[in-house]
Each structure stands twice: as structure tokens, then as C-alpha cells.
Symmetry: D2
């Protein structure tokens, strides 16, 4: 995470000659100091994507003016152009949804406390109370929202979760081994901000008890997948995946234990990239620039 | 692969107290010199498995007598006991089935030629002629068996393949990127000997064009799976799997290219373990001891 | 970590025929229920190693009697035989030494709090106060022992550390990114119990600032090494190592950040194996059984 | 490797504002169709690097004219600017130096034969005759140049090797497990073109018998390093590295066998990147763009 204030430009449009020249000339004319840049052209979809990072102090006006001027550039590159300019000076707010399993929560809180992940964890919301005390020990409010089994009480619980989350207007809503399936309207409302860690190497072992499925199939590696949440269960755009070797000596419990290390590291990488504005989504695929 | 002649005992039975004592005492009384041994108890199925390697010269009689005597031990450990004694002095014969893609064939032939994989490749059978010349350059007969598209001509072709394979009574029939699906009767006939390399991390992307499926799903790792062939497509017991990182810059063709390295290495590991008698199958899972 | 009470036998001696038979018959005659066993013969040194786990309730007497009887077996296998019997019912005590960097501490405390690592962290000792509050939040005493720069004040500080550590007679003294070099007498006193995590893939980049060294050399992977501490700096027996890919875009700080995930996971694996009695040391090499 | 003819621009210079704009505007004004581009700014050295790929047919003149015009752009970006424009239409020539161990040779020849690596292997030169027949089977000339043990006969042998290599003016001279140390004058002459595969994860285990060194140190991973050859033994800029897990059951011979798979895959990746003009060297570090 940057010490110096920076503006992060994320941009995508149908590919054509001269896009890089247009954008880089625009920035060069302003005297913009580019500290990081990445480009990608997808030959299958014919789209062009870029992420550019410039130091705020090299831009002779504020971010609103930068956005206004860049809008002109974007417009000239086609009506479909899709862009956003982020301000690293705006502190990132994150809300975490948890259940009973604490490894992802412990890991994220440790990263925040040690300064590695420079964000505000605005709140932790749990459908169980197990993780309240560690959350409070980090000085973060914990909200306990119990979930019933019938659809009506689930709907009520989700309404309460939504209210608690939206009060912070977070940059990311992280399902850190939250064991409830988000209703379609929340998938919609938090599109591109709700991030889940699924405890398998998707698309293998969608749904419940993936390590049990993995054990039964006799796979030789277990994995985890960090992805944006969509209305299709475990089928949203994948941000990051990783795996770990297992063998016949590993029981389901061993797989669960070993898998936790993959889950927490994979989630933290995906979340970091999301917050740094590195993840561009097109269709159901991500570009990590 | 062993220089000194060795006997490899593979054994499985329902777990109970004293199995190791029984087997190791039997070997100790013979003066058997154990050079490698592995044990595994599976708590889920309640089965016990072991692989023991003894030097042939430490056993005071021949392998037939060893088998006869061990049969008594095995019987005393229960009617379900399942065992086999292999002789490393019997040179391993392998038949390879190929199509157009040569990377697994080139790799296996290279390993054999350099002495790394100490086997006889008795024959290579292809449903295309592409790989005939490299096979012949290694002094190995290549049989071209064209496959029609209708089921009748496929059946005829498979009958011819079966005849060619069975003439060598091979220890392994390797589907080295052979693009035809074995008929159930051959799966049956070659059970525990037919080894396939599937170009995905199973159970993801069963069937045709797995890299296309992987690209479309936007996964961040591609993989390969070496497994025993069964009548269920790509669902047999997994011997070995591995993966390689890909990212958004990789086209389908890049994934295919990168995946080849995983396929060939994974296949060669699985084949080696099979030939060394390390792979014990129970239900749909393998123990690699 | 076991729920059922178990005895763990670690045994090593010069290899000869009949060792497995002797030990397994001994256990079988007692009716010992073996839940886990591993054997290894090292052809270079000619030594045999085994680790056997039996349920306590299957043994008809207590651990002292088991030790007394096993001593006879061990004696019969040669004067050099080296063995130990651990009792899983004896809760493992661990003392952690830390400095300013908290990622390993956060990780271990999270594992303990979530029940994944079933140990008592008896105390955390720091040469800085940075990590006192998170330690206390977990209900664990933190001892601040400042280290001066001259050798006399270091010696005093180490004397104080030794006193604090030894008061708990811990099964493991973990240098969780403790940035002070243990004096030879403590290496001696804690031999086989003092575990360090070094932030490089040893033997590359011994000593200070390994990520800086790695960046300067332009390596494409960074790693971490969990090893027993000996008087030779970073040269003790390696328990576990792992690596992570980096590339030219990674600054030293990026390497440090990415490396933390490898360090903490590698340390926790090594520590777990040590506490489960899986690590047998012979010369400067470890067998993890 | 490209089907469509392309020009690859490699460029480096001290970083300043507007470089990307200058280069991309230059290309845009020509109507250049950029199919691949990458940028990197190294904060430590203050250098900027880029690689740009444009289709040849989108450039309205030939490569000589492109070079002439680009020279003006480069000059305007500073006297230190370092650049090159490659033509993918010029078929890449490679000469391989080998000894007795064939795994890297088999692997490269297989990749070339199957079309995966689209290069001309102009010649294979061996200081032993072991690999002559496989080379000839691929229709490639093999030159046997025996090396004596005294320095004079070595010098003569190297003179002969140099003559054979230089006759082809190759884009890459690959030391595919060639066990002789290049004399300084050949390191100089082939600077940036001579590529070695070292059978360890450098900087660990420089020099002879690295697997023996690795076994003795008891490491838990073995690796391979593909690097440019310089006069400092095994100390040249690293292009690619990879590792593979080993454990206490692996003898030195097992490590050698397992390591081969890492060596051949690592070498082929490094060689591909080199030939595609992806590797930019600055000081002793590489950027792979």
C-alpha cells in the first residue's frame, strides 16, 4: 500500500490503434509521474485494458478535475469505454463477514495490526459469536447476527447484515469463511465488492463440504479460490487461486487443516489486489494488472 | 529403478493388531533384507496397506516359493487380504497409445533412452501416423491403427489395438494423450494397468478441450491428472496430479503449451510409481507407498 | 494433535535385519494398537529410523513401564540405539521469542486460539515491546527483555531470557523472527528444542537482511527455512523449507511482504512436526516421519 | 512463437516523465498495431524498461527504416538509452553444447520436433559422443569435440567449439548440461547469448555436484537456475528458476533424477523468453517482460 498519495486509473475499451498513445500523452502533458503501469489486450474478446498509477503531487489539480478531463479522453476512445480513477489517499474500508472458523479472520486482523494491510476494518459481522472477542481485542466492533434456518428468518438476518455493512459503504465486503449464501439482491448491490474465499480449487467441488468431496475423489492437491460473489454459487470471476499438496495419509481433517493455510493466503492476496485497484473484470474473467 | 534384484510385496487387508509383526517376523525369519517399507492405515475404510521391498538374494529360495509361503501369512490375516509379489528382475514392458500430440511420447522416449526409466517400450500404437518416425528412430515398432468416426469402425480399430497390446502382455498400457475413449471391455481387461494422462486438474474439466474450458472459466492454475482408466470417463483412481500457474495474459494456446510440461512430468511420475509397485488402489483412491 | 491419548516411539539405530520384526512383535504382544508408523533406512549412513504411534489405552500398563520394557528391546538392537517415548497426554509447552516483526507471532497465536495448534504458549519474550498487547490479548504473559549493543549487556539479557524460558521447561523454544543470535551455551542447553525460522531458502543468504541479498542477486523465488538452532549460524538441521515466486517488479519491500507468508506457514509446519515427535535428527539432517 | 510477422522493440533508459507517451505516440503515428506491451520502472536503479510488439504489416516501411526512425526517438530520451528491434520473421538459430547427460537435449529436441519451439537447431556440439545418434535422428549435425584435462588441450577444444558455434552466428548458445566452464573470452564474445542451466537453486550450491551438496545440507527442495553465462562461475543474471520438493527418503540419485525435470522445464522457459526478446538485462538482474 502506497505511502505517497497516488491516483490509480483503471480503464478498458474495445482495442484499436493509439489507445496507449492517447492515455500516456494525456498524462505526459499534465506532467504525470507514472510509477506503475500495465496493459493487456485480450485477443479473444478484442478488449484492451490498462491500469496506470500516477503520483498525486505530479498532477496539477485535484482528482475531480482529473476525472473530468479523463472522461473526455475515455469518451474519445468509444462509448463502451469503462473506467474508474481511485485515490490512494482515501483510506480503504473493509467489512468482514464470518461464521465459526477463524483462520481467515485471525490472518487478516494480524496483517492489519502489523501494518502489512493498510485498511480500516470497519466492522466484523458474525452469524455466530465465536469470533467476537478476538475482534474486540483488535479494537474493532463485532456484530452478532444470528441466522435462522427458515427462509424468512434468513431474509431478516440478511437485511440486518446489509444495513450494518452499508452503513460503512465499504470498498470490500469480505466473506471470510462466512457460511451463508448471499441472496441475489445483495450480490447485485455489492457487485464487484463482495469477495469470497471458497475452500476448493474451483470449479472443482462447488458448494458444501469441499474437502470431504476432495477426499472422496482422492485428489492429490487441495486448493482455495478467491472470487467475486455473483448470484451463481461459487461461479463468480476468479481473482486468485492456489493449491497445496496432500496425499493418502491425509484424512479429511488433515485436508481441512492444511487447506486453511492456502485459504488465508489466497484470500489476503486477492483482497490486496482488489483494494489496490489491480483487478479488472470483463465477463466472468479477471485481469490482475 | 533397482540395480539389485528385489521382490516387492504389496499387501492390503482390514486393519487389526499385529499385522506388521506378522509380516515383518515372517521376513525376518527368512533373513529378508528390507530396503524400503511403507505402511498406511486408512481410518475411514479401516484398511491397512503395506509395501515392502526385500533384496532377492536375502531370500533363501525363489519367488514362487516366497509367494507360496506368503500366501499362508496373508490367509491368516483374513479372507479379504489382497496381495501381490513383484519381481524387479522381470523387465517391465510398456505399450504406449498416442494420437497427434507428441510431447508425452517424446518425453517418455527420452527418459527410456537416457536410462532414467528402465523399461521396454514394446510398441507404440497411434491412430495417426504423425509420431511414427520418432518412434522408429528410437528403434521401437510403431503401429498405425486408423480410427473411423462411426461406432463400428471404432470397434474394429479397438479390436486391432487390443490385439497389438495384448501380444506384449504389458505391465502398463499408457494413453499418452491418446484421444480415443477406451471401450468398457478394454477398461475391464486392462484394469489397474491402463494409465491415462488427462490435461486438467480433475475433477475440473472432464472430457474434451479442458484448456478451452479452463480459459473460459478464468482459472489461475492449469493442471494435469494421471489416473487409472475405468469405464467412467476421467473418473478413475488418481495416481498423481500437478498444476502450473497461468494468468490473464495466457491465451488458450499458451495454456495448452504450458500445460504440456505439467502433463509429461505428471504422467512420467505416475507411470514410474505404477511400475515400481508403489500404487495400491482401494475403492476409487490410491495409496502411493 | 491427538484427541485420544497416544504414545509416540521415536527410534534410531544402525540398520540390520529384523529390527521392524523386533519392535512390531514387542508391540503386538502387548496388544498395542498402532495408529501411525513410518520407517526409513538411510543407505548413506546405514542407519534405520522409525516412529510408531500406539494408543495409550491399548497398552496394559503406564508409560514408565512401557519405557522400561522398551529399553530392553532397544538395548538388544545395539548400544548406539537412540530412542524416546513421548506421551501425547502431556500438554506441549512452547515459549516464543520475538522482536518487532509480528507476522509469525500473530500466525501462531491465531492457530492456538482457533484450536488448530493444541499447545500452551507459556510465555512470549520480546527484546522490544511492540508485541506485548496482542500477546496479552490472548491471555499470555509477555516479558520485555531489552538487549543492549555491547556483549556484556547482551549476555545479561540472554541470562534473563534463559531464566524465563527454563522456568517453563518447554518442549519448544521458538525464535519467531527473534533478531538476536543465541549464544553457544543456550544452543547447547536447548539443543533439539530451539527452532528458528530464517527468512531465506538456506543455504542461500545466510545471516542478515536475506531479502536484500535475494533482491540484489535477482533470484526468481524467495523462501524460508525452519531449522533447529545450533552454534553455527543458520546451519542447523533443516526441518522444513518452502518458497514463493517473485519477479522483477518486486522491490525488496515486496519480497519482505510476500516472504512473510512463506515464513509463517513454514514455521508452523516445522513446529507442528517437532511437537508431534515426527522429526528425527541424524548428523545435520532431519527425517520427518 | 508468432505466426504473423512482428517487430519486437526492447528499450531501456533512465526513468523520466513522458517516455511511454513518446514511444507510444511514435508507434501510433505510424499506425503500428501493438499486440503485446510491458513496462517496468525499477525504483532502485531509476531505470525504465519496455518491450513492445507490433505487427510488421502495420508498419508502413521495412525494419531498417523502423530502426532508423526509432533511433531518433531513443536519442531524444537520453544518451544512455539502450535498445534493439528484433524481427520475428528472422528464424531463430540455436546451437546446443552438451556432455553425457541427455535430458535437456531430449527435451529441447522434442519441443522443436513437435513445433512447440519454433527454432532451427543449427548444431549440437558434445565433448562426449553419447548424444550423437539422437541428434542425428532429428536430422541435426552433431560435432564431437573431445576435451583434454590440461589447460592447453582445453583451450584448443574451446577454439574448435567457438569456430563451430560462430559459423552459425546463433541467437542463443545453450549449455544444456555442458560440463565445461566457458573461458572468459567466450563469455565475452557470447555475452547475452550464452545460456546455462545450473542444477541448483542459485546462489546455493555453486559449482560441481550441487545435488551432492544439497543432499549433504539436508535441504527440502532442490532447484535449477537458467542464467546468462558470465566470467563469474554460476553468477550471471538469472532468467528463470524453479524448485521441486524432496525429502529424507531421496538419495542423491533420486535428487538427480527429480531435479532433471526441473532443469529441463526451467531451461526451456528461459530459452523461450530469451528468443522472444522478453529478457532485458540491467546490471546483474533480468526483467522478463
Amino acid at each position: 500500500m502506497p505511502d505517497t498519495r497516488k491516483y490509480v486509473i483503471k480503464f478498458g475499451c474495445p482495442d484499436r490503434t493509439g489507445i496507449v498513445a492517447r492515455i500516456s500523452s494525456f498524462l505526459a502533458e499534465l506532467g504525470g509521474w507514472i510509477t506503475d503501469s500495465a496493459y493487456h489486450t485480450d485477443p479473444d474478446t478484442g478488449w484492451f485494458f490498462t491500469r496506470q498509477v500516477v503520483t498525486a503531487e505530479s498532477i496539477p489539480f485535484d482528482i475531480d478535475e482529473l476525472r473530468a478531463r479523463f472522461a473526455g479522453i475515455a469518451r474519445s476512445l468509444g462509448a463502451e469505454a469503462d473506467w474508474k480513477i481511485l485515490d490512494s489517499g482515501e483510506r480503504r474500508r473493509v467489512v468482514l463477514l464470518v461464521s465459526k472458523e477463524g483462520h481467515c479472520l485471525y490472518d487478516l486482523l494480524g496483517r492489519v495490526a502489523s501494518g502489512e494491510l493498510d485498511v480500516d476494518v470497519a466492522a466484523v459481522i458474525g452469524n455466530h459469536e465465536h469470533l467476537a472477542s478476538i475482534t474486540n481485542a483488535h479494537g474493532i466492533p463485532f456484530h452478532y447476527v444470528p441466522f435462522g434456518r427458515d427462509s424468512e428468518s434468513k431474509a431478516e438476518a440478511f437485511a440486518q447484515v446489509a444495513k450494518l455493512v452499508d452503513a460503512h459503504d465499504p470498498h470490500a465486503v469480505v466473506l471470510a469463511r462466512f457460511m451463508q449464501i448471499l441472496p441475489p439482491e445483495l450480490c447485485e448491490a455489492w457487485q464487484g465488492r463482495a469477495i469470497n474465499i471458497h475452500h476448493s480449487f474451483l470449479p472443482s467441488f462447488v458448494g458444501a463440504r469441499p474437502y470431504h468431496q476432495a477426499h472422496q475423489r482422492g485428489v492429490k492437491l487441495v486448493g482455495a479460490t478467491c472470487h467475486y460473489v455473483t448470484a451463481d454459487l461459487d461461479a463468480g470471476p476468479i481473482i486468485e487461486q492456489d493449491v497445496m499438496r496432500v496425499d493418502h495419509t491425509d484424512s479429511v481433517d488433515d485436508m481441512i487443516r492444511k487447506g486453511r493455510d492456502v485459504e488465508k493466503v489466497t484470500l489476503s492476496r486477492g483482497l490486496r489486489w482488489h483494494l489496490e485497484g489491480r483487478v479488472l473484470v470483463h465477463g466472468n474473467r479477471t485481469m490482475v494488472l
